[in-house]
């Protein structure tokens, strides 16, 4: 058990009363996500790889019906969990978040504007990156050039669904983009509609973890596309995905009221 393993086991099991710890662990030279039981040797835990444990948690959560699960979370993971919990897909009381602050290099990789978890347990807080250089460049382009840019980027899509499969806030089991209702063209690359429909679906829940971009076999700058949509959402409705309480403005009244209140202004 390395030092990090000891520290994480102490925080999770001794200090915060977890029954499980979900973390990245090195075994025989391979690093993989592991569900460590209380009392088990935590082993050689690693946090230096940008890996998104929320998806792993979503997959195993239904199979762990009892007990509290501690999970190593970056700020984006924490926000992803907020989106999941808001939708009653997980129970907040069953989760213990161990805050991991991203390194400067990781922050730079994600052009991350919000890299510090609410509570830093591991690592040191680094300054956010204010701007996405590609977004700045695209904003300064003419509309025609922007269309040309994305046309050439989307041409690289081979519809591997890496972006959706690795997205922590894509909740659907079977993706509508696999069907032909909205993206009628068969074959590869899929039409523009594929990316627009995904943009719409992500517009009120993307927490900018960058997993789509890292997963994209074609190297399409998908995180920039997400950041553009998030900027729009913030400008138009003052909404930022990943909030603990706030409901998507696309589901409320113009005054931002929940419809369940029975107090529609109309």
């Amino acid at each position: 058990m390395n030092e990090l393993g000891k520290k994480l086991a102490r925080i999770a099991f001794d200090e915060r009363g977890a029954d499980y710890l979900l973390a990245m662990r090195e075994e025989h030279g391979n690093v993989a996500p592991s569900m460590i039981r209380k009392g088990e040797d935590a082993g050689d835990v690693r946090v230096d790889l940008p890996y998104q444990l929320v998806n792993i948690l979503s997959n195993i959560y239904p199979w762990v019906p009892k007990g509290r699960i501690a999970v190593v979370c970056r700020r984006c993971d924490e926000k992803a969990l907020n989106e999941i919990i808001k939708r009653n897909l997980m129970d907040r009381d069953r989760l213990i978040l161990i805050g991991l602050a991203c390194t400067r290099e990781q922050v730079a990789l994600c052009r991350c504007s919000d890299p510090v978890p609410s509570k830093v347990d591991i690592g040191e807080a680094n300054a956010p990156v204010r701007e996405d250089p590609l977004m700045v460049k695209l904003d300064s382009m003419s509309q025609q050039d922007r269309l040309k840019f994305w046309t050439s980027e989307f041409r690289k899509c081979n519809k591997c669904f890496g972006c959706t499969l690795n997205c922590p806030v894509c909740f659907c089991d079977d993706c509508v983009l696999e069907e032909h209702t909205f993206t009628p063209e068969l074959g590869i690359p899929p039409s523009f509609a594929f990316h627009l429909v995904r943009s719409m679906h992500m517009s009120d829940k993307c927490i900018e973890c960058g997993e789509c971009e890292r997963s994209c076999a074609g190297g399409i700058p998908l995180l920039t596309l997400r950041k553009m949509a998030n900027r729009d959402m913030k400008r138009m409705f003052g909404y930022e995905a990943g909030d603990k309480e706030k409901v998507s403005p696309l589901l409320t009244t113009l005054e931002g009221k929940l419809l369940e209140d029975g107090e529609h202004v109309c």
Partner: protein, 139 residues
């Protein structure tokens, strides 16, 4: 060169804007023949996916017409439309598709003249923008 004759799709809600379109007809208000109305029960049921699908397949413009805010047959249905359509427009802008190809407006059952005006102005606007650049784009 033949004149550009745009193809436009309009989603109209059953209770207000479709009735407004009917009133325009009953009143014999003349307007350009480019707009094809699809009746839906509420503008809130118009998926942005329809807008994207239409534009990507080469339709030159999409109108979403609903009841005025406060008049929605389904209480606050159009409140969601009023937010969904603008965000869909922004997403189009982000990838370089002119969001003026999508228009959201409110037409009541009593506003036949407004329907005529919205249609006429939108057809003019789309004519000004020219053919949808996504028409014929094969990725």
């Amino acid at each position: 060169m033949t004149e550009f004759n745009p193809t436009i799709l309009a989603f109209c809600c059953n209770w207000c804007s479709y009735a407004g379109a009917d009133l325009a007809g009953v009143s014999r208000l003349q307007m350009p023949p480019n707009v094809h109305v699809v009746r839906v029960m509420c503008s809130a049921s118009v998926k942005p996916e329809y807008i994207f699908k239409s534009l990507v397949q080469g339709i030159d413009g999409v109108l979403v017409l609903g009841c005025h805010i406060g008049d929605c047959h389904y209480l606050t249905g159009n409140h969601r439309t009023a937010k969904r359509v603008p965000i869909a427009q922004k997403l189009l802008d982000d990838v370089g598709v002119d969001s003026r190809r999508v228009k959201l407006d409110w037409v009541s059952a009593a506003e036949g003249e407004k329907f005529q005006q919205v249609i006429t102005e939108f057809v003019d606007e789309i004519k000004g923008l020219g053919p949808n650049p996504m028409r014929g784009v094969r990725l």
